[in-house]
Symmetry: D4
Subunit: 147 residues, 8 copies
Amino acid sequence: MKVYLSGEIHTDWRDQIIEGAKGLNVTFSAPVTDHAASDDCGVAIMGAEDQKFWHDHKGAKLNAIRTRNAIEAADVVVVRFGEKYKQWNAAFDAGYASALGKALIVMHGAEHQHALKEVDAAALAVTETPEQVVQILTYVLTGTLPG
Amino acid sequence: MKVYLSGEIHTDWRDQIIEGAKGLNVTFSAPVTDHAASDDCGVAIMGAEDQKFWHDHKGAKLNAIRTRNAIEAADVVVVRFGEKYKQWNAAFDAGYASALGKALIVMHGAEHQHALKEVDAAALAVTETPEQVVQILTYVLTGTLPG
Amino acid sequence: MKVYLSGEIHTDWRDQIIEGAKGLNVTFSAPVTDHAASDDCGVAIMGAEDQKFWHDHKGAKLNAIRTRNAIEAADVVVVRFGEKYKQWNAAFDAGYASALGKALIVMHGAEHQHALKEVDAAALAVTETPEQVVQILTYVLTGTLPG
Amino acid sequence: MKVYLSGEIHTDWRDQIIEGAKGLNVTFSAPVTDHAASDDCGVAIMGAEDQKFWHDHKGAKLNAIRTRNAIEAADVVVVRFGEKYKQWNAAFDAGYASALGKALIVMHGAEHQHALKEVDAAALAVTETPEQVVQILTYVLTGTLPG
Amino acid sequence: MKVYLSGEIHTDWRDQIIEGAKGLNVTFSAPVTDHAASDDCGVAIMGAEDQKFWHDHKGAKLNAIRTRNAIEAADVVVVRFGEKYKQWNAAFDAGYASALGKALIVMHGAEHQHALKEVDAAALAVTETPEQVVQILTYVLTGTLPG
Amino acid sequence: MKVYLSGEIHTDWRDQIIEGAKGLNVTFSAPVTDHAASDDCGVAIMGAEDQKFWHDHKGAKLNAIRTRNAIEAADVVVVRFGEKYKQWNAAFDAGYASALGKALIVMHGAEHQHALKEVDAAALAVTETPEQVVQILTYVLTGTLPG
Amino acid sequence: MKVYLSGEIHTDWRDQIIEGAKGLNVTFSAPVTDHAASDDCGVAIMGAEDQKFWHDHKGAKLNAIRTRNAIEAADVVVVRFGEKYKQWNAAFDAGYASALGKALIVMHGAEHQHALKEVDAAALAVTETPEQVVQILTYVLTGTLPG
Amino acid sequence: MKVYLSGEIHTDWRDQIIEGAKGLNVTFSAPVTDHAASDDCGVAIMGAEDQKFWHDHKGAKLNAIRTRNAIEAADVVVVRFGEKYKQWNAAFDAGYASALGKALIVMHGAEHQHALKEVDAAALAVTETPEQVVQILTYVLTGTLPG
């Protein structure tokens, strides 16, 4: 099973899931999570821009080569919303995955419940912790529940 | 041409576009923009819920009957991000429309440029004002530029 | 909006919905609800069969010309499960509509809740009465809630 | 060849097919067939619910992560209807598989022939026993008939 | 309902169906049935060819502009096999329509039953006469059986 | 029948086809053929750019709203290659239309035969003059050949 | 590269191609070519039928499990028309493959050129001998021409 | 990741990319780049033609078996426009890849910027050198930037 881990990049939630899922038949993919590299990749390779808009534009498109391929190849897309920032790219990925019919798992704290209701409504599972995602992957692949 | 107007519901930007596009061969659609109705529609019709999560869930799914049908039927999807709130449903719609190959027009102020770079990168036009959207629709349909 | 009314054919629920939705911009479609005609259409037109299996087979395929075209053309598929019979064709239609990405509305009594949990999980709305379906169509098309 | 075994979970028909197909180039998949785990998986991982509807809803969606991925990956979907229960999820799976253009094999006793006529009409083979399914898989993969 | 009438062009079966279906909400389409025009259209418009293969090739491709558009637009494809000739284009159309998921109605005499078994197996109805096709269209659209 | 007229914009070939096709049941669409407007539309509406690349980029994307919608809506795509310029956008449109399965008609002079062999190989008709395109549309829609 | 070998089953053309393509990175698939098994497979496994039509029907559907999966999995579909019989299933396969966008190679003698013009027009290569098919596969995979 | 290298065949840009990408998890594919073989393959295998048009036609279709399969299988399509020739097939491939939703990387010199603006607008990256393509593939697969 191929699982794409989208969204928040400032905590180690991806590592926790990958560590917890050891032994399961899962291949994980993710965006580039080095924030500086992700922001500057476009101009670093294809040349500097005077305007911030085009600086960002080049980078965002370059990152899309990786992210869209990974989402399209995925069986399951996990999208985590952290506590800070707008994280519109996470919601964009959730919409993109949903339109492709991917199984969507959302992860966020209770404080974002109302603001994320449309995203949650498109998901097959709404979670709060990486441990729950590991339990879901374990159950989906082996039929085993925690405890 | 069918145009879906997604996103922010607290200003009259939809009315400005619809008014400005009078005389063009365009049919507009939009989500329900009555905030209270949109939040409570699920429980109002299908019965109350104790938990806020399920209250919202029922409503969000009911609204999805309207919004997904409208996005799928649209030739162009305009998504506006306002100054306030998380607006994750707007970004979700942008991702959904993008995965379906819809022509995407994004509208937002300069202060959101960096946070919306992935959404902008998926768009065919990035605008700031309803007037620009009207000019785009006018040009796309008639070949006429402003001025 | 095109709405297909699938499922139980022994009560007048379709008429109630169609009557209640008068004035809305909806076109309804449905299977042939004349039970005898539906059962015998194949042999009546294409010749008798000795075996009940092929008698039914010819009829079921002939009815599929109507039902599959109608489901594929629909924006919304309403599936009602009545109190009696196996109604596997209703569940089949729900699965068929779901795989095509149609907006699914399910209608059934509380006694079938557990047995229909997979079907309900694929739906955007779960209702009990024709009146609720009318209220949903009214809200989806006009934004107006009951009361 | 990938074969998904959907439907009845109270007899050992899946084991019989898997055992009989040993030596063929087939990979089998199936839903979680531990009834209790399947019913309670949602609340066991994502938290208890007061309402039976949402208890079931969480579980049904979680199971859908597994079942929809498996059906979409399958070349052949076998759906068995047993002697008891409503088994609407089996019929739902048959409809889902059919809309995706999967090769559908149905298995059921003669007593359900009339009630399953629409499902049978969508199938490429209608069988009564696991042995017949093994014979079909053997023939399809090797061209060899029984006897 | 859009119905494409494919196959044999030497008898008036299309006229019989169109005449019989008067009053039904059906739009019929068909290939060019003027045999000479159909054979020579390519060279008549785009210039003569020395080789019969290319003469035919130009014509066949030109006719495909009409036939493929009509099949893709159709809800129902009727394919008639007459008593003479190879009629491979009819079987090609049947396969093309089948892969697109169109409702397929086949018409042929009993003498071709065995040779057409794969085509018949892909059809939702197998008929022998134009009258039967009219009865099918009448039933599918109105629910009314003959007699 | 919907026909998109792509490619060369310096002669009146579109007008000749539209004039010649009067009386046929055809709706024509085309890109904006005002060269200056087409080049400058992006900056005229969304603000000036220092770099020629981004000036062109904004305009090309804006034009794509019109052209992609029109190609996707078309039944037939006619692509004309004139005597001058690189005309890569014409070849791009031909590839785009071809991948979508559109019926492709190519128009060009004999001098470009070898260079356009891959494009011609994807077409259902290769022509040299607007008159031939009119004759093709006439034949496809009415079955009538010239003369 | 996956190549499906459809059509005539009375000569050893498949063996010639498979033998000639040794050393190339190709996987071949084909229908069951044991004529008797292919005709009787349905009743042999699922029970006898009184009517020849249903005898054939059961068999044709069972064979379709193999053939449709193989065509859908193929990159290239080779269809051979022999000198005898109607071979409508070959033309059906060609149409089916064509609608799915498969690369189609047709093989037949000159005597069938006119009757197969629509099938040839849908093909990327028209050949007469197994040796030519081997040369095509060799060229397509290695860039090497014969001689 | 599967990368198709389309376009100009007179310099060693493909070799530079393949060499530079050693160590990355990439599989490259490309058209036949032996110009003479590519031009004459059709007649070499399927027989000579008097007319240059059909000589080219046979070859172009034969090459399409390779190129379309490779583009459809690719995750990323790189299209290089060289300094000379019309290179319409490169632009055709870019359009074809774009309509299929492939990640498109374009490579060309500054002198072609304006003429390629529509192609560039459909790309996720616009480059000038093979080294930049290698850097992009390295970043996309490993997250590592040059320097």
